[in-house]
């Protein structure tokens, strides 16, 4: 597109804004549409081929007993019935997914907010700390999980070696039914806390200084200022971070697969791990697809709920 093109487009816009009457769409407009399609076509094609078609395929697959080991047949809602009424492991996985989310979200948000407040000052070298906390976000989750698997190793793991210095016999972190999930939660928090921290940092820097000034003149304490100025002002960001973290936590898989492989026993089975186990270890693709769709609806429902709740506790939204 050349400069005159841009100018023409601007002129057109002005004319419309000025209420100078609607003109038929010009040739230029149509050719712009053409360009737009051309530019997004790789994305659209990729989406259709690699996302939409497989999703529809999985939807149909969830009504069959498709398995790699035998021919498949249509079985209606049997897979869903099995999940809801006959499979205790499915419910256990649901429970553990919620346990993971319930552990991860508050920890992640509080830590991210704390770090953001702490790092939201202009002192030399602060960039280094911000970078250090953000680095794990751009690290591969598999590498991260493997490194932490070694750190939490029972013998010759870093943590237990340190405990050894104080003559404390460290537990078998990843082989303990009570400890495995909390360890995975902590490792996941450390991995992703940087992302929320950056969101909060950006929000904090957007809060106009004059509000604090006004609060100070009114004699508000530091903590009052935080709860009555800072928090309401950044509530849209908190809400955004909450939704992102919730959806991410429901989809947790890699760190579980690498660090515990669902174990010990089935104590770290979460929904996506269970889907993987059913599909790629037992080859029951039909049932795995059904669980995947149940997860899909769970995410959908929770997101809609949160979206509706936002009106109640987001006080300030542009």
């Amino acid at each position: 597109m050349n400069i005159t093109g841009v100018k023409n487009a601007q002129a057109e816009e002005y004319r419309v804004q000025a209420g100078l009457g609607k003109r038929k769409k010009s040739r230029l407009h149509r050719s712009e549409g053409w360009f737009a399609w051309l530019f997004i076509s790789p994305m659209v094609l990729g989406y259709i081929l690699f996302l939409f078609v497989p999703i529809v395929g999985a939807f149909f697959m969830s009504f069959t007993d498709y398995s790699l080991l035998h021919t498949s047949s249509f079985i209606g809602l049997d897979n869903y019935k099995k999940a809801f009424s006959e499979d205790p492991l499915f419910w256990k996985s649901v429970g553990q997914t919620l346990y993971f989310s319930a552990g991860l979200i508050p920890l992640n948000l509080c830590l991210a907010l704390g770090l953001a407040v702490l790092l939201n000052r202009k002192i030399p070298g602060i960039g280094l700390f911000r970078t250090a906390i953000f680095t794990p976000v751009v690290t591969s989750i598999v590498v991260w999980a493997i490194a932490w698997k070694y750190i939490f190793a029972t013998e010759s793991g870093l943590i237990n070696e340190i405990l050894q210095l104080f003559h404390i016999q460290g537990p078998a972190w990843l082989y303990n039914f009570q400890l495995a999930m909390p360890v995975v939660i902590i490792v996941s928090v450390l991995k992703n806390v940087g992302l929320n921290m950056v969101i909060f940092l950006a929000a904090l820097q957007d809060v106009p200084k004059l509000y604090y000034e006004a609060a100070r003149i009114d004699g508000a304490s530091k903590s009052k200022m935080f709860t009555h100025v800072t928090l309401p002002m950044i509530s849209p960001s908190i809400f955004l971070a909450l939704i992102l973290t919730l959806i991410g936590s429901l989809k947790v898989f890699s760190q579980i697969q690498v660090m515990t492989d669902g174990g010990p026993g089935t104590s770290t089975y979460v929904l996506v791990y269970y889907i993987y186990q059913q599909a790629f270890k037992i080859f029951d693709f039909g049932y795995a697809s059904a669980i995947a769709f149940i997860l899909f609806f769970l995410v959908l429902v929770l997101t809609i709920l949160q979206w509706n709740m936002r009106k109640r506790w987001v006080h300030h939204e542009e």
């Binding site: 549409g33 399609w37 076509s41 190793a153 029972t154 013998e155 270890k281 037992i282």
Partner: protein
């Protein structure tokens, strides 16, 4: 909107055309190559072919095959063979998925527990025709080894490795402590689990991180490999022969599992779950391993070692037999070339070469001096390998193995994490496995 659709259509068309051009080109290239390099070529035998060959072995095994392939290419310059190494823990899973997506290798190693699945899904090529191939000498292969890979009169592969499990022991550590070695005890007829435990306790030195023994090889998730010899030695059976009933929750099963649990948690002579200490580090005094470990053991220079049979339990030695066969996938585009390669790597000459790591399934090779010289000494080889072959049993294999394996693994975690007693673990195992056997 209509416009958008047309654009998408035209883009799709373009893509198809590009793709089409691509394939056309290669085809043309292939044809001309064939025409110029081998004008007198008559049939498929001279076509350029690449075969995929999957194994779970280590680098030394891969290198051995690569040397073999180089020689194979002297006679068959048109057949290239590409080796794929897949870790044992993922092997069955990966192959099943490759088979479903029609990308399975042409030739594949299969272990005993994978075979029922691939035979029942009709994935393997019948190679019974080899029986009439005189040069190949099919009759030389132990018939007992063929049973697992056959159904009726059809044979689906050639076993190439049937190693009995055994103990690799660190002779230097035994000498330092002035202990009688397993070999000596075995010759005296006293090599049993009591003596074994006594030795393990004497050899354990936690200040140096030395463990008396280790039954785990290939990772903690590979429980049948670790435990089946104990089950056999104590006369416990995981699942009955008919595959209809879980039978490990017997007093024998309890005894066997209790011994294992005590070695780890009570006596501390065995590494804890998740620990990956290896024999070649010098920190394991007695390691249960297979003959195929020989390559790695031979690389050890820090200490002396030897091999001995497993100790005896109330029910005898309980030696298990590892099992691996080379098989061909039915979906192969080049079955003739694949058979050619299978014949080549399992012929007597090459089985002699593979016998440096794999206990051969050919009588002529097993009984040869060349094989006896593959171990630390001919005497040890006779005691730990040759003499054990007749009584050793292969690991159990059942049709729904993936599910049994997965459930049993989960249940054993209660033992490994000390969250339940042996009795409770066996009760849970019964509840987890029995529904799968119906």
């Amino acid at each position: 909107m209509k416009k958008g659709a047309t654009i998408i259509m035209s883009l799709l068309l373009m893509l198809v055309m590009i793709a089409g051009c691509g394939t056309n080109k290669t085809e043309v290239k292939g044809n001309t190559e064939q025409a110029t390099t081998a004008p007198e070529a008559t049939e498929a035998s001279q076509k350029e072919v690449t075969l995929k060959f999957s194994i779970w072995g280590n680098d030394t095994h891969k290198q051995m095959y690569e040397d073999m392939i180089a020689k194979f290419n002297e006679q068959n310059p048109n057949i290239q063979v590409e080796i794929m190494v897949i870790p044992l823990a993922d092997y069955q899973q990966k192959l099943t998925i490759m088979q479903a997506s029609r990308t399975a290798p042409d030739i594949a190693w299969l272990a005993e527990r994978m075979i029922p699945q691939f035979i029942s899904t009709d994935a393997l090529l019948d190679i019974s025709d080899l029986k009439s191939d005189e040069a190949y000498n099919f009759a030389d292969i132990f018939p007992s080894g063929l049973e697992l890979i056959s159904k009726g009169d059809n044979h689906y592969g050639i076993p190439f490795s049937t190693p009995p499990s055994m103990i690799y022991y660190n002779k230097t550590l035994f000498k330092e402590k002035g202990l009688v070695t397993p070999t000596e005890l075995y010759i005296e007829g006293k090599w049993n689990y009591d003596e074994y435990l006594k030795a393990a306790k004497a050899l354990t030195d936690s200040s140096k991180g030395i463990y008396g023994t280790n039954l785990i090889r290939n990772g903690w998730e590979n429980w049948p490999d670790a435990l089946q010899t104990l089950f056999n030695a104590y006369g416990a059976e995981l699942i009955n022969k008919e595959g209809t009933e879980f039978t490990l929750d017997s007093s024998q099963g309890e005894q066997a599992l209790q011994l294992f649990s005590d070695m780890i948690f009570k006596d501390g002579v065995h590494p804890k779950p998740g620990d990956q200490t290896t024999f070649d580090s010098g920190k394991i005094a007695m390691q249960k391993e297979l003959f195929s470990y020989m390559g790695k053991a031979k690389a050890v220079t820090d200490f002396e070692w030897d091999i001995a049979p497993l100790p005896a339990g109330p029910n005898g030695l309980g030696t298990t037999l590892g099992y691996a066969a080379v098989t061909l996938f039915k979906d192969s585009q080049h079955p003739e070339e694949a058979i050619e390669f299978l014949k080549y790597i399992t012929n007597p000459d090459n089985m002699t070469i593979t016998s440096q790591y794999f206990v051969p399934s050919r009588k002529s090779v097993l009984e040869s001096d060349a094989f006896l010289n593959q171990g630390p000494s001919a005497e040890s080889m006779k005691l730990a390998v040759i003499d054990q072959m007749a009584a050793a049993q292969t690991l159990p294999s059942f049709k729904d193995w993936a599910k049994i394996d997965s459930n049993m693994k989960s249940v054993l975690d209660y033992l490994y994490s000390q969250s339940g007693t042996v009795q409770e673990v066996l009760k849970n195992a019964d509840e987890a496995i029995t529904p799968l056997l119906k």
